[in-house]
Symmetry: C2
Subunit: 453 residues, 2 copies
């Protein structure tokens, strides 16, 4: 039920905007759009079909252009950039934070990148080059090099005077970092602590040395896990020599967590989280074709199993009617185990030590379910066809297939992960192939043995 | 590939712990466990089978017990609470923050709740009762009533003196709230601003009146959306009269976003995000049985369609071999559209205004895919059975079913949402029922007309 009211605000904005666009009154559209945050504008643009999307994009305050580009998926970003002059793009992105700019830079035309680099001062250019030197999906790419550092051998009073001189702090600064003469990370001081302690308190009394630093090469997934497990707002990033390089803030981590969730949901259907809801038909067609072709191959595999029993089906047509039930129920039961396993693997909860226990639990659940549903299914089939042998065959086949489904549900994701593949991506296809093949094989095989035997 | 290295740290801890448990040396286990954060301990407990789980739970520092209980799923929480005396539970939870305690309270035995309430001072008891008076999954339940407020008619200096007197601020305080005499919310002041401005600066010059307050009855999903769209770290919560009630901090929002993602992934398989990986067989059986029974009914619906064509299948057995391909491919194609729609609905990107455009796009993609894959499938079938009419029938049926899948992929989730249901939960079942029924109907129907006609 919660789903129903969720994001009703966004949907309302979309409707208002759409009505205004349809009526051709661009003034109200412009006013409406520019009350929104860049992320909200990005979301709205993603929800607009081509044509309307370009119109609204042209109405966005140029000051927000850069931030909006950061907040949309890759495909939509391409479509927005295609609408801009090089000069506009340079103006849009040159004021972005270094980490956001690093995010965008690969989607920009080369000439624009050169212009942007030229427009930056040397310090920022070096920072950008540094951030870009780290792999995508690592802490190095997430961090912002703009940090406020202090030395430990001073007092609250001195730091306060320094801060007043310095003026505004980088966004989401909740701690200052304490570094050595060689810029090695030593610990951090909460802004809170500076506010709640007397002016003459020595800084080294306030240093929190417990906050661990994140290694610059750490994966962004691991960064996200640490932030959410420790309730951090920000964390320092260091290199192998413990030299402070920058800091990561929770707002970027929230984006990662959202992207991970989208990735998992969409990759199970062979899609990418960057897919545009309104991507051009030709592009959507090509992407989906690959996925459907893979599925066509596995469907033939299952069909070839049925093909081996053509003789049996010819004699008992009821088998053709009932066989999709056995195969489909296996797929459903397997998907349940599979979903639990994918979550467990993503949380790091599954390892060599507990897989045997899990298999044993899932096989027992499958056996009890198989017997219960088998009795139910057998009874219905008996009422339909009045053939007790057929009932026994389908009940047994269902139980066998539910057990196969349980085994596949555990072992397919675990094996994929061990081989270095994303279990969520290919796992579903393999799983249903197993349950289709085993469903047809057990049902038609048993039927051949018992009913024609 | 990222998935492969993800959370390797947790998996390593699990292995170490498991080895230590197996060897029976509890000292190292205790030391290992107590280097972890409560969230990490919770994650480890969830990954341990019953038996080992109780042993490790007994080794957790009692000081962390409460926080660990907050961080585990409902089912695991029950199993941990079952291991504790009422006194232990009271000791564990009485020092929790009000919002965390409110989270737990419904899972506690009544006698324990009474004890906990008795152990609290009046102010905290009233706060807890206030938080509990709001609906689950609303801002009221997420907020912490512990906020620091100041008045606007004062100076930085006075506020600094007040803060030094007050001592430690509530966790994750990044702003102080400015309220009127009647405790109405007027705006906020960043801790940063207090640090970077001169002592004699009037507070009203520093007030940020732009930060909107969250309504106490707002849904937690909407709260999460606002936090992530605006990069907030904290936000004030007010009632209908704009009276300041508390504040919500980003760490709780991160938990919501994670839970939403898990909910979506698991509910598609008819499971609950609170499901324990090692839940007792009997409980797992009962839960899954309900889901599988629903699926059995829909499978019979599809089978009954096949049943109407028994005569046709008897004459051409190849139809029985090939029909699962047509049905299955429809399911796969429909699932792709469905996944995109569920994401779009969750982000509020889909409304009455753009559904027609989406349908038109998806139908065109389905047509092109249908023709392409139909030609491919028709060719393979011709090579297999050397029957050009059969090839034509399966190619046409596939195209019809891909178009039905596109329509169902768009309209099933949109309709469920409009009716107030969670599209991710029941949508998949309805979708595959449509694609199975349409797949069998189009293929066997066309075969009857053309091959037997």
């Amino acid at each position: 039920m919660a789903e129903a009211v969720r994001h009703d605000k966004t949907a309302r904005q979309l409707r208002l905007l759409s009505d205004a666009l349809d009526s051709g009154r661009l003034g109200p559209v412009r006013r409406l759009v520019n009350t929104l945050s860049p992320a909200e504008i990005g979301n709205l643009l993603e929800s607009l079909p081509p044509g309307k999307r370009e119109v609204v994009w042209g109405l966005v305050d140029p000051e927000d252009d850069g931030e909006v580009l950061v907040h949309v998926g890759e495909e939509v970003r391409e479509s927005l950039l295609a609408d801009m002059d090089p000069d506009e793009i340079v103006a849009a992105v040159e004021d972005l934070d270094i980490d956001d700019l690093a995010d965008l830079v690969e989607d920009l035309p080369d000439t624009v990148i050169d212009e942007v680099l030229k427009s930056m001062d040397r310090e920022n250019r070096e920072r950008l080059e540094q951030v870009l030197s780290y792999d995508e999906d690592t802490a190095g790419r997430l961090m912002n090099p703009d940090v406020v550092t202090v030395r430990a051998d001073t007092t609250v009073d001195v730091v306060l005077r320094y801060l007043r001189l310095r003026g505004e702090l980088p966004e989401h600064t909740d701690h200052l970092y304490v570094v050595s003469r060689r810029h090695q990370y030593l610990g951090r001081i909460a802004l809170q602590a500076l506010l709640t302690h007397e002016a003459n308190t020595p800084i080294n009394q306030l240093v929190d040395g417990e906050q661990p630093a994140i290694d610059v090469s750490e994966s962004s997934e691991e960064v996200a896990r640490q932030f959410s497990d420790h309730d951090w707002i920000s964390a320092p990033v260091v290199d192998d020599n413990n030299i402070l390089l920058g800091r990561i803030t929770i707002d970027d981590v929230v984006d990662i967590i959202r992207e991970q969730a989208e990735h998992q949901a969409l990759s199970a259907a062979g899609l990418d989280e960057d897919e545009d809801l309104f991507s051009p038909v030709r592009r959507a067609f090509r992407r989906r074709l690959i996925w459907l072709s893979v599925n066509l191959c596995t469907a033939f595999l299952a069909a070839s199993v049925v093909g081996r029993f053509e003789g049996t089906i010819q004699k008992i047509v009821a088998l053709a009617v009932l066989m999709p039930i056995v195969a489909g129920m296996g797929g459903n039961a397997g998907t349940q185990v599979f979903a639990l396993m994918v979550r467990g693997l993503a949380l790091g909860q599954i390892g060599r030590s507990n897989v045997p226990t899990l298999v044993w639990k899932e096989v027992r659940v499958a056996l009890i379910n198989g017997v219960t549903l088998g009795l139910l299914l057998g009874t219905i089939v008996w009422l339909w066809y009045r053939d007790i042998k057929l009932s026994a065959v389908i009940a047994t086949a269902l139980t066998i297939n539910l057990c196969s489904a349980a085994l596949a549900g555990v072992f397919v994701p675990v094996t994929l992960k061990r081989l270095g593949f994303d279990p969520a991506l290919a796992g579903g296809v393999i799983l249903t192939t197993v349950t289709d093949v085993m469903g047809f094989l057990s049902f038609l095989g048993l039927a051949t043995l018992i009913l024609l035997g």
